[in-house]
């Protein structure tokens, strides 16, 4: 169901954790709350789930105002980073717990559990206890427990943080598949941009208790609102070069870069260049020396220390195109660069 946060604020003592947050999650959509630790994303999640009291603002789920509703009555499924399975119960009883609490008849509950187990492919594990399950299996049980009661909303709090890299890749796809198949509105809290970009329809980036930008992953990557957002997306991250507005463009080191935007003359600006946009063939050339070359198998990763005093990274497919210590004049395409003002806002 559609979730809406209006002017939501939350304090812990004197610390403002989230201030004046507005967010709409459409029915069936999966949205990521992405940000560094302490940005208020988990607090927001638990305010929606009903664990944290809302200090100011309103939260509605499917049009119903739940701001003052206790957690038990919100019909929200939560998956925790630690999975929070009940250690003394078998997987079957774990998944069945929300049904048992609602007084569902045993046979109907068993059918619902089996159906969920089928969807998550954990049928053979139902009689085991959490201690006898691997991390990935526990994750699936936790998901089944959150979904078995057909929640209005599914909340995922760093669900993949405790899994190893391989499993994480599998579970990303799995969670997305199950969310689609059950058509559940979902919010994913994460600090991992890859997770947010690959799993969600839209991303809300948070910084110090505020939403900085909400957009679809590709759009956010192409048109970040600020340096903060640009730095958060992409790995290896974007790098910045000092620039200044001049007649007909920007001055970057010795190069004159064509730019259609406007800024007062001689104000300090910066341009961001992503590693995939920098390489031996770009039209705007900058001189420097190669400081590092790393092979990532499919592609090579370079770090180039520029003569103008900054370091740019480059990703290029195929074999090594430069050696460490080699003097190069690599370039980038001005159409792909991002220009930011002194406060970090994109121009």
């Amino acid at each position: 169901m559609r979730i809406e946060l209006q002017h939501f604020s939350k304090r812990f003592g004197d610390t403002v954790v989230v201030s004046d947050m507005n967010l709409v999650v459409e029915e069936g959509e999966m949205i990521a709350l992405l940000g560094p630790s302490g940005c208020g994303k988990t607090t927001t999640l638990f305010a929606i789930s009903g664990v944290h009291r809302v200090d100011e603002g309103r939260i509605t789920i499917g049009g119903r105002d739940v701001t003052r509703l206790p957690a038990q009555k919100r019909n929200v499924g939560v998956v925790f980073q630690s999975y929070a399975l009940y250690p003394h119960m078998t997987a079957r009883r774990n998944i069945g717990f929300p049904l048992a609490i609602r007084g569902m008849e045993r046979r109907a509950a068993d059918r619902a559990i089996d159906e969920m187990a089928e969807l998550l492919e954990i049928r053979p594990l139902l009689e085991r206890r959490p201690g006898e399950l691997s991390g990935g299996q526990q994750q699936r049980v936790a998901l089944a427990r959150a979904l078995v009661r057909r929640p209005d909303v599914l909340l995922l709090d760093e669900p993949l943080a405790n899994l190893d890299a391989r499993l994480r890749l599998d579970m990303r796809g799995e969670i997305r598949r199950i969310q689609r198949e059950t058509h559940t509105t979902a919010i994913l809290v994460t600090h991992d941009q890859v997770e947010a970009m690959s799993m969600c329809d839209r991303i809300a980036i948070m910084d110090r208790g505020r939403v900085v930008q909400i957009a679809a992953p590709a759009e956010m990557y192409e048109r970040p609102a600020s340096r903060f957002v640009a730095s958060f997306l992409g790995s290896p991250p974007i790098a910045y070069l000092p620039a200044a507005a001049t007649e007909g463009g920007l001055r970057v080191g010795d190069a004159l870069v064509p730019w259609a935007g406007t800024a007062p003359r001689d104000t300090p600006l910066s341009i961001g260049v992503r590693p995939e946009d920098f390489g031996p063939d770009g039209p705007i050339r900058l001189a420097g020396t190669v400081a590092a070359v790393e092979s990532h198998g499919r592609e090579m990763l370079y770090a180039v220390d520029l003569a103008l005093g900054a370091r740019l990274r480059a990703i290029q497919p195929g074999i090594a195109r430069a050696r460490i210590g080699e003097a190069v004049a690599w370039g980038f395409d001005p159409a792909r660069m991002l220009v930011f003002d002194g406060e970090g806002r994109r121009l």
């Binding site: 638990f46 789930s49 009903g50 664990v51 957690a71 038990q72 009555k73 929200v76 499924g77 939560v78 925790f80 980073q81 630690s82 929070a84 399975l85 009940y86 250690p87 003394h88 717990f97 929300p98 609490i101 609602r102 427990r145 009661r149």
Partner: protein, 274 residues
């Protein structure tokens, strides 16, 4: 082989060091079943005479079975009460947003450090006024109250190890706070409950000073008071009888230790495997 030799030597040393205790224990058993001529420790005949307290009431004493029943009642009731109160109070202090929580926590610690004996006159007066003097219920309440600080603190420690997320998950799953405690949290602290229960029953069984002072009347006497009565009576001094009753007194506790040995080991080892 030098390893073997070393452990043999260590065993020998331990054996010699604990010899006095072993000899005393052996004589506790032997003396209760035998008689020896005057002037020697070596028994010369087998007799059940010292165990006569089991089938006949000793002059001026209550029946041993009344005392035994009283002891079971006393130990059982203090154990049950202590576990019931500590498991709820400990949870409240560990997890609930109580007013004066810090004050209660500090208070419990101070109470724990307070020596019981200094309170006994005050307690005696309270029981007199409330009419609980010379009743089992009175001593049970007092004993439980005095063990509560330890119990509450112990249970709080166990609750502190239960992850918060489990409780949040329970609330999110629709359970009330009470159901969360009863169905999700309590099973996680079962080792603590078992430890506290066992400790409390054994402690109650061994308790002497409180029943002696607060419930000396013969029909509410517990075994420890009964036993002490045997040697305080100078005119009918019977050491063999004392040893037999003593042996009878330690039997249940020994049994508890034998039965729950593994359980106790896992508790002291800090294991939480249900």
């Amino acid at each position: 082989m030098p390893n073997r030799l070393r452990s043999l030597m260590i065993l020998g040393l331990i054996g010699i060091a604990s010899l006095p205790l072993i000899v005393m224990l052996a004589f506790l058993v032997i003396d209760s079943f035998s008689a020896s001529p005057p002037g020697t420790l070596i028994p010369d005949r087998f007799t059940l005479e010292h165990w006569r307290f089991l089938w006949q009431t000793l002059p001026g004493r209550p029946s041993i079975w009344t005392a035994t029943a009283n002891t079971f009642l006393f130990a059982g009731a203090t154990g049950t009460l202590l576990v019931a109160i500590s498991s709820t109070a400990g949870y409240a202090l560990a997890r609930l947003d109580l007013p004066f929580r810090a004050f209660f926590l500090g208070g419990v610690l101070v109470m724990h450090a307070f020596p019981t004996v200094t309170l006994i006159i005050a307690i005696f007066l309270v029981l007199q006024v409330t009419g609980l003097y010379n009743t089992l219920a009175g001593v049970v309440l007092v004993k439980t109250a005095l063990n509560l600080p330890l119990g509450i603190w112990l249970m709080k420690g166990f609750y502190d190890t239960v992850p918060w997320e489990i409780e949040i998950a329970g609330v999110q799953d629709g359970a009330s706070r009470f159901t969360v405690w009863r169905k999700l949290v309590l099973p996680q602290v079962r080792p603590g409950l078992a430890a506290l229960g066992l400790f409390s029953v054994i402690d109650g069984w061994n308790e002497f000073i409180l029943p002696q002072v607060l419930a000396p009347r013969s029909d509410v006497q517990v075994l420890s008071v009964y036993l002490a009565g045997l040697i305080s009576d100078d005119s009918r001094f019977d050491f063999h009888l004392f040893k037999a009753v003593g042996l009878f007194y330690v039997l249940p506790v020994t049994l508890i230790y034998m039965i729950f040995q593994n359980r106790l080991m896992s508790i002291y080892g800090g294991g939480t495997k249900g």
